[in-house]
Amino acid sequence: MSISAQIARLCLCALLVSVGLAVVRGLPSLAASDSTSAEPGACRAPAQPDANSSVRFIDQDQAKTLVGAPGVVFVDCRPRAEFELGHVSGAVHLDPTGHGAKDGDRALPHAPLDLLSRASTVITYCDAQAQCERSLLLAARLREAGLRDVRVLEDGMPAWLAHGYPAESGICAQCEADQP
């Protein structure tokens, strides 16, 4: 039997079993599966929070009341260019994927960390795409770094702008200072 015939038969076999499984068990739902998201592609707290999860969320309205409050720092996790186009008023920029060129380097820049370590509440946000991975990643790292109250902003920057909540734009001066 030729290789292509073998491959075709194996794929057909897998297809039939898969269809059978899908009929019996149904197709998996992205919404039900991702522990950090209530719906596919959304940046929301799960409907049934995992007791073991260290990530906490904050909704847009609550977060808005904390803009400018003492001890509260908003952290923008998006790329620098997007931060400069528009961000939550008073937010600092810290892209968890943009630092450390070497593989496995999980170090965060010292300057924002020093500021964040003095804050009572840190709220991370990003563009809310694909389960807001950047905000979740940074929140997890900040928790690892010892910060106690770290929240992820539900729905991120797009919803913030849509609500018309306080935002500003401009060059990231602190990014310049972080450059080695």
């Binding site: 998996p28 739902s29 593989d103 389960q131």
Partner: protein
């Protein structure tokens, strides 16, 4: 000697694919989320792939132990491993920090360049199994035992 090595590699791949496929089949929802985190496929394709891919891994694993389907299974396995390596590489290049989802969620397995290299190496090993199987499977039949004893 080569036969023994090839047989060991086949059994090793079989165990690897069964383990990978079975853990994903136990929690297809979690695997669907893992696939979506790679951000390469439209969302509609993710759920069927989350069911189909683990099944294909299990089918390939079993076929690797047969004589009839060995070459096809080895090439399929090599293709899948190369595809996994490519998916991980694009995630690394785009700065996406994620778990590879290779063995379900029981094992935290972050994507790294080491993992990309490992999958690439395994793909080449599977291709070697496919190529080396060519002689013994589709080539001339092996002599019967009594004929071998006479010589």
């Amino acid at each position: 000697m080569t036969q023994a090595i090839r047989w060991s590699v086949r059994v090793g791949f079989c165990a690897l694919f069964v383990w990978a496929g079975w853990t994903k089949l136990l929690d297809p929802g979690a695997f669907a989320a893992d696939i979506s985190h790679y951000r390469v496929l439209p969302e509609k394709l993710v759920p069927p792939l989350a069911v189909g891919l683990p099944v294909l891994e299990c089918v390939v694993a079993l076929a690797l132990l047969t004589r009839t389907y060995l070459r096809g299974a080895a090439w399929l396995g090599a293709g899948m491993l190369a595809l996994f390596a490519a998916a991980m590489a694009q995630a690394k290049l785009r700065g996406i920090d994620l778990d590879c989802g290779c063995f379900g969620r029981e094992i935290a397995d972050p994507v790294s360049w080491g993992k990309v290299a490992l999958n690439g190496g395994l793909a080449m090993l599977a291709a070697w199994v496919a190529c080396s199987a060519h002689d013994s499977v589709s080539g001339l039949p092996e002599p019967p035992p009594e004929a071998a004893n006479r010589t």
